[in-house]
């Protein structure tokens, strides 16, 4: 093969690999993506039961109830709307009332959110992305004092170099 033929062949190989990658990505975007919503947005959108959703919010005070075995239920709120959530597994270390968390799962037709994953940040002062904005906007922001104090020395809720 001459130089031109070889070049054409490589262009063909690159094109094939790239189009495979694009095809796979487009296909994977259908199942690999979940929308992140606050309780208000969840109520508004009311996604289908088969659609995976990330729901973030504050665990409401006094809402955590343990049931049979590992069953646990609690309500997540964003100051305006609350959503009941059920979960059947071991809760993460930093799960507690008044704490901002992220859950993953789906919304049942009866309005209960069934979570299969609960994520609480490594950091005790963590707020889910968008949560702080939302609370501020709705006038429910209470963390100003602590945030201000920690901000003075470059943010106490600290960014880590290590992210296991």
């Amino acid at each position: 093969m001459n130089r031109k033929g070889i070049r054409l062949m490589w262009i063909g190989v690159i094109g094939a690999v790239l189009s495979t990658a694009v095809g796979l990505s487009l296909f994977a975007f259908q199942s690999g993506i979940s929308f992140a919503m606050s309780p208000s947005e969840l109520r508004e959108a009311s996604p289908d039961p088969d659609q995976r959703v990330r729901l973030f919010g504050l665990v409401q005070q006094g809402s955590v109830q343990r049931g049979e075995g590992l069953n646990v239920s609690f309500t997540l709120g964003d100051g305006a709307v609350t959503v009941p959530v059920t979960f059947n597994d071991i809760l993460p270390d930093l799960f507690r009332e008044e704490q901002g968390i992220i859950t993953e799962g789906s919304l049942r037709p009866d309005g209960t959110f069934v979570a299969d994953t609960v994520l609480a940040k490594h950091d005790e002062n963590y707020m889910p992305a968008g949560m702080a904005e939302k609370l501020k906007k709705d006038g429910h922001w209470k963390g100003e004092a602590s945030a201000g104090q920690s901000g003075a020395y470059g943010a106490k809720p600290r960014e880590q170099s290590n992210d296991g």
């Binding site: 990658a21 929308f35 270390d93 470059g154 960014e159 290590n162």
Partner: protein, 668 residues
Amino acid sequence: MTVELGHMALILAFALAIAQSILPVLGAARGDSRLMATGDVSSVGICLFIGISFAALVWAYATSDFSVVNVWQNSHSLKPMLFKITGTWGNHEGSMLLWVLILAVFAAAVSVFGKSLPEKLRANVQGVQGWMLATFLLFILLTSNPFLRQVAPMEGQDLNPILQDIGLAIHPPMLYLGYVGFSITFAFAIAALMEGRLDAAWARWVRPWALAAWLFLTAGISMGSYWAYYELGWGGWWFWDPVENASLLPWLSGTALLHSALVMEKRDALKIWTVLLAILTFSLSLLGTFLVRSGVLTSVHTFATDPSRGLFILAILALFVGGALFLFVLRANSLQAGGLFAPVSREGALVLNNILLSTAAATVLVGTLYPVLYEAVTSALSPTGEGAKISVGPPFFNLTFGPLMIPLLLAMPLGPLLAWKRGDLLGVAQRLMFVLGAAILAIILAYGFIEGGPILAPLGIGLAVWLILGSLAELWARANFAKTGLSVGLRRLAGLPKTAWSTAGAHLGVGVMLLGIVMVTAYETETVATLKPGESVKINSYEVRFDGLVPANGSNFTGQGANLAILRNGVEVDRALPSKRFYPARQMPTTEAAINAFGPSHLYISVGDVLQDGSVALRIWWKPWVTLIWFGTIIMVLAGFYSLSDRRLRIGLPQQARKPTKADAHAV
């Protein structure tokens, strides 16, 4: 006093870095040897000053000097000494100082070990390193100064308990050695573009640095994965979290760089591509270190950030990445195209490796950045200006990254067996007949003997066997045992070049890792149980019995452990004590999983809540062959070290450098 000394040393290092940014480059432009030589002095000086600065911070941590804000925020007088010291880099400011220290060490290393490099190239490399040092020192001094003082409080706020672990002592420095190591190849690429000269010798100088960076990055990622596995109590070893992706990206392009530099060194081809990869790899390293810190990307592992830093970081990224790519576009055309080769050849195989690795890296990058882009686009389109927040989960990466890796892994044993320039695919296929047979046998056995699991899993096992045995095929062929007999064959093996061994070793490591991944992904079992004292639960062929709660306290935490017996056929074979800890200083609980090894497999036990009736919730996983994942990476790292010890790869070797130096002198 030491703290002020550390601060001052940092400022002095910054002043020297400014000098290094200008003088050597000016010298190279004017052909002034004395100006160029200043880089040797300043780089060692910078390294020394940053070293002093870092030592001062470590001292402040070791002595629990809470008048330093950074120490107060991240340390506690009761913390064990080891964690006091490692806590130095367990926070943003300290880790930045470590990052710059490593940058300075590498810059000094180029000055000390690179004596044989052409004068101009060395001066330009030092200049580029000066730019980086000056920028990041400025970043630390302006936005992340670890030496700020305050009126000393009585007690510190303690380090995040999750970070109080031996993993933290090793994982970040390793990862940083990897990330920052690619700064050298970046500096070499920029220097070559500035000079407009790029030849096979350049690849020979760059390759050992790329290899060093690569093996540290490999070790760092592997350590991080193992640390997450045992510390977070979720039993997962890879989460496709943005932070992890950020470390995988430079690894993928760095791996591609190692392979393309090989082609450039041996065959003087792929030059432009190699330079681009050198630039991209370090750009991805910067992205890895900083994108997550800038607050643009959020992940489960991200901690809240300071917006002023974010802006500074994005400016740095834009400056270095944008500047480097701009220079590349300006100069790339002036570089000569290299030698010709047939598609089926060693070069061809390495090009295929590069295409697949780069494409895989691109899909990971897209998946990682997609949420940011999506939010930006939807917020621009929406009338309220609020963007939709999405997250890209593991299924996306498994569906894209996985299939792209399969052809790469299939082709991996073929590459080293192909000849340069023009290879004989049929001949290679014949030499791999036995390996293929063994892989097929493994698939059949897996279908026959392993119950359950996904239908495709045995194929994965076959692929791993193909890789492991295929990696050894080259050594086997070269030893030629069948014809020469055992003793001659062994002597031949011993006489093989180190690169042959390290190639085989690195590829073998990938195979071993793959075997672990396939086994644990396909055949892992888990069970969740609530046990009262005396009750037990079965998992795999083991039985776990709960013998009651016991206290498990430490110097700065209180804890409660579940006393467990592990039985097999009714006989106790091991004991386990998974626990929950509570760190009062941070009001933070952690889970300490119990990991019991049985051969290469793990029984992994996490303890959940203690219920009112005295029963305890346990989550137990059986993780078959899981340790092979990290064992494989250890083999890869060892192979890298072994290759680095090859004297042909050594950077300071006079013979190799003499020729280009003379040519350079003539050219001037």
